[in-house]
Assembly symmetry: C2
Homo-oligomer: 268 residues x 2
């Protein structure tokens, strides 16, 4: 059923894909859908935690670039997509109570409350398009798997009740293309920007590249350097460590698809 | 006295200048001091207004680029300058009660409260250094006056209790240098970034360039185009319109001098 559905929705606009998701016709991952449109990570929290999370993101902009924050109780992320509904327009959610996973629904309308604030956070899908356009290979896309992610020994700057490690994603880049990978992604500061670290994984506490903390292992070929970017899992890691009484996130890979173009987020 | 003092502090480090300010030996404007170090606009608010202001800045990043937000009650802006004290390290403050100016002290230690949150917001001094380095003239610096600023007909995206117009600063740039002025300032998204508008002031509601709403008039010569950037007065304009019960800002031109270098805020 997913394959037939995938044929129906591939090549559709962001708005079309959201309406498929809203009606329950698509509950799968969003990678490759609505190409060229910005996809975003989601964190929903009660308003009494919202200032701390916004401050945490402001203090750690590389792993936690904020694209949109809604007013308390407002389910419409107007800045990213007018008419969208954050309660229904993501294929699959994760609900946490006191930091513990309590469910993975495909609609959170019945959990909605007037005090909930939604954070939409930039995702590396945006700069990966730019890397491919620049002729730089992206291994996990070639392999059809999820990007490998690692918890580092780098600490985020804490904010209020929130603290935690920096989480990074890794892409192996041919040594001669590393400079171009840096300059290309530097132009997208709102979707993680330049790498945080290049080579020498041990320096940031990554002892074994073949065992990522999240996502899948990818092959690193001779002549390639592991390049590390800030990862949108970082705010979720801080939240899980800090155990708010109630939180909702997207399910990994099941992102919010906005009406904004990737190219709008480039410095030039 | 100011001239003798100016000789003593010119060429000093950011930390030295802050200690002159803290001891009350310097109460003047900060333009030209601690060259190469980032200076910042200040807004201090009670914590129950802080989420709205942080959200307002997130939604209007060109006029309101946030460099640092302190924890409630904490007077040390650790991310910009360890050991600094926001209550004493700015030469002159403005205190507002219910949106009305209530004083211009040089120290706010006696007004400090446990619920106050300080916002430090990027300032175009940073990108002006880059313009000059790129060989682009900056008229108000040549003339030794303040940059002209205008209230536009553009509206900021509102956030909670805060709304208001976009305020812009204007620099006349020789037509042939406008592209370089755009690319140079684009590289500094955390200090207003690229221009918001180039030429045609009437299109953004500016009817007479010779009558700025804030700052001074500057000469526009034949062959020069007025170029408009987002201005750090924007969050203050929104605050004054929204009338929080209590707020403190820096006095215009009397900025916070941080330990961070201008060059740290460039994309490259």
């Amino acid at each position: 059923m997913d394959d037939i559905m995938m044929q129906q929705i591939s090549g559709r606009s962001a708005e079309d894909v959201r309406s498929f998701v809203r009606s329950g016709k698509w509950t799968g991952p969003t990678s490759g859908l609505a190409k060229g449109y910005v996809q975003a990570n989601l964190v929903i929290l009660p308003v009494d935690w919202a200032f701390d999370l916004l401050l945490f993101c402001q203090r750690n902009p590389r792993p936690c670039p904020v694209l949109e924050v809604t007013e308390p109780g407002d389910p419409e992320p107007k800045g990213l997509a007018r008419g969208a509904d954050i309660r229904t327009d993501i294929p699959r959610y994760r609900v946490y109570r006191d930091g513990v996973l309590a469910g993975e629904p495909t609609d959170i309308s019945d959990l909605w409350r007037d005090d909930l604030v939604s954070f939409l956070i930039g995702c590396s899908f945006t700069f990966e398009g730019a890397l491919l356009d620049a002729g730089i290979p992206v291994r996990h896309i070639e392999m059809g798997v999820n990007v490998p992610m690692y918890i580092t020994s780098l600490k985020c700057r804490p904010a209020g009740k929130l603290s935690g490690p920096v989480v990074v994603s890794m892409r192996p880049i041919p040594a001669g293309m590393v400079p171009r990978a840096v300059s290309t992604t530097s132009l997208f500061p709102l979707v993680h920007g330049a790498p945080l670290h290049i080579g020498e994984p041990g320096e940031i506490g990554i002892m074994d590249l073949s065992r990522p903390d999240f996502g899948d292992t990818v092959e690193i070929r001779r002549g390639e350097i592991p390049v590390f970017w800030g990862c949108g899992v970082t705010p979720q890691a801080a939240l899980m460590a800090s155990k708010p009484p109630f939180a909702i996130t997207h399910s990994p890979g099941h992102m919010f698809i906005s009406d904004r173009k990737d190219s709008e987020f480039s410095v030039f």
